[in-house]
């Protein structure tokens, strides 16, 4: 099982094995009345079987849009994929006609969403909604599909699954609804599961249960899991590697434990420092000052420069590419080495 994958979007010949999912230089923009918002600007990452990739970033960093582009469920218009490739086992999904692409959705790659209440159809029973996967994709009879749906509900640990299959989404608690979403997403045994902030809308105790369930299912089924979140605490235990996104670009990519030990990008460093910690109780919480850039007008140079405590003159002029700092670790910062080693002073204000 590959935990660290060297290189940005390695070509199959370079990595030796074809990755399960390979996103290469993906570009997405939203054409709105206020201008063109460049939501994703050249994102590349790879995912292997059984691997968990955490995509981390603030709201508007492009992490969900990237996932929607992978799934092919962007609201279009206004959203358009303007470049790049999404390869599933070597097949570029973006190059496929709609009906062929549809065959991958739910069967090869499936997705769960943040708010299960609005993501489930309010007027159909949950068992029916899960069974629909079997009826449409596998042509099962109503009865057999229902039976499979109940089995899935049991697998995601919904109590009294058989009795509750006829209930509607609003009759379940938040955690149970997310379990139903998960049951639906894993129904056809997909190779890749994308979880878009699956626990954000839930209580802390329920969050842990859902994360545990996802981790168990992933291990049993050897799925590749893309976990999109803005919560650093959620990813620490389950992820193998982390992509930190900002302004539609990957700022840092590293194995999860390395990034916690020593970030190689000022943005990651800021994120880690803004986690409340028990041993710093009583002190003021540190926050990253300022706001993310307006995506319709991303400034020249480094996107993070206006908020970066270490910004120098070069940051104003050149946008730093995502480059390898130490083997297996990538950072889009002119001073990645210095940040990693803690060998840089904040700029004079």
């Amino acid at each position: 099982m590959a935990t660290t994958q060297a290189g940005i979007a390695p070509r199959p010949d370079q990595a030796g094995v074809t990755p399960l999912l390979e996103v290469e230089n993906l570009q997405v923009e939203f054409r709105t009345r206020d201008g063109v918002a460049k939501a994703v600007n050249g994102v590349s990452y790879t995912l292997h079987e059984g691997e968990t990739l955490a995509v981390l970033g603030e709201s508007g960093s492009g992490k969900s849009v990237t996932a929607q582009a992978i799934m092919g469920i962007l609201d279009s218009p206004p959203g358009f994929v303007t470049g790049g490739a999404v390869r599933f086992r070597g097949q570029d999904l973006l190059a496929l006609p709609d009906d062929e692409r549809r065959a991958y959705r739910g069967r090869s790659i499936s997705m769960i969403f943040q708010d299960a209440l609005s993501a489930l159809n309010p007027v159909f029973p949950v068992g029916w909604q899960i069974a629909e996967m079997f009826r449409v994709h596998e042509g099962l009879s109503k009865k057999d599909a229902k039976q499979r749906a109940v089995e899935l509900m049991e697998q995601v640990r919904i109590p009294a699954a058989r009795e509750r299959a006829g209930d509607y989404p609003h009759q379940f608690s938040g955690g149970m609804r997310q379990r139903i979403m998960i049951a639906m997403a894993i129904a056809l045994d997909p190779d890749v599961l994308i979880a878009d902030e699956p626990t954000t809308a839930l209580d802390v105790t329920v969050q842990a249960q859902i994360m545990q369930l996802l981790a168990d299912l992933q291990r049993e089924r050897n799925m590749g899991l893309i976990l999109i979140t803005h919560d650093l605490g959620v990813v620490a235990d389950v992820a193998d590697k982390i992509e930190v996104m900002y302004s539609g670009r990957i700022m840092e990519q590293a194995p999860v434990h390395d990034i916690y030990a020593a970030p190689a990008h000022p943005y990651t460093k800021g994120l880690l420092e803004s986690i409340p910690r028990v041993d710093l109780k009583g002190q003021e919480l540190s926050a990253i000052k300022g706001l993310p850039p307006n995506l319709t007008n991303i400034p020249a140079g480094c996107e993070f420069r206006p908020r970066c405590p270490y910004a120098r003159d070069i940051c104003k002029e050149q946008r730093p590419p995502l480059a390898e700092v130490v083997p297996g670790r990538f950072s889009a910062c002119h001073f990645a080495q210095e940040v990693l080693e803690g060998d840089i002073e904040p700029a004079q204000q």
Binding site: G72, D75, D99, R105, F113, S118, M133
Partner: protein, 308 residues
Amino acid sequence: MGRYVARRLLQMIPVVIGTTFIIYALVWALPGDPFAGRCGARPCPAAYVAEMTDKYNLDDPLPIAYIQYLGNLIRGDFGETFQGLSVGEELLRAYPTTVKLALVAIVFEILIGIGAGILAGLRRGSYIDNLVLVSTLVVVSIPVFVIGSVLQLFLGMRWGIFPATVGSDDSLYNLILPGFVLAALSLAYVARLTRTSLAENRRADYVRTAVAKGLPQRRVIGIHTMRNSLIPVITFIGADFGALLGGAIVTEGIFNVPGVGNLIFRSVTSRDGVMVTGAVTVLVLVFLLVNLLVDLIYGWLDPRISHG
């Protein structure tokens, strides 16, 4: 559910009593002698006036007269008109025509209204969308009697495509033109409501989930989007059916449809108070019952609504 229905039925009692009392009081409070001009050119003989006054309790105070009327109603006796016709029989004769007319109108609302709304909602900003928006705006802006008269003139008389008037033969074919005119206004609302509701639901999260499930487009729209989009539309059409069952005075007048609307109009102009109160009482009851039915259908369509 049973308790909900029982509660709603009980709530109808004060509503029915209140509305019938108001109608009864208003009808008999009209100024002037109800028997003036009933006996040809001469004033009515005193014996006739005395008999009629006694028959309709006109000497009693209003509340007493009303209670006597209400008592008869509960026994199923709607009374007689001044000409001695049974109000109950007259209503039974007129009501089937009004029901038929309302059904024809509802069919138009469903077929054309929902159809146009779906076409427009699925292709917002397209030629067909703009066509639907403009044409419904035109229909909403023109008074019903103008639409009715114009269609009667052209489709009915000049081109002779449909019968211009209905008269005593209330066959479905004769009711097509008046049914369409009666439906016109609601049809425009139904089209716009369907369009908006559909466009709104197409952006809903659960539709995105349906796409992510890998369902074919026709299933995403035909089942997931449509089922939710039509909830407010069906509720609207149901409520409108209740209103249409109250008779359509203008449309029935233009096309000479022998329905309840016509009956009420004639009774009001000839100051036949018993007929008016009887007819309105039935209409109130029908309207309340249809509304109860619509609420029950709404709860069935949208499981989030519970009738506890």
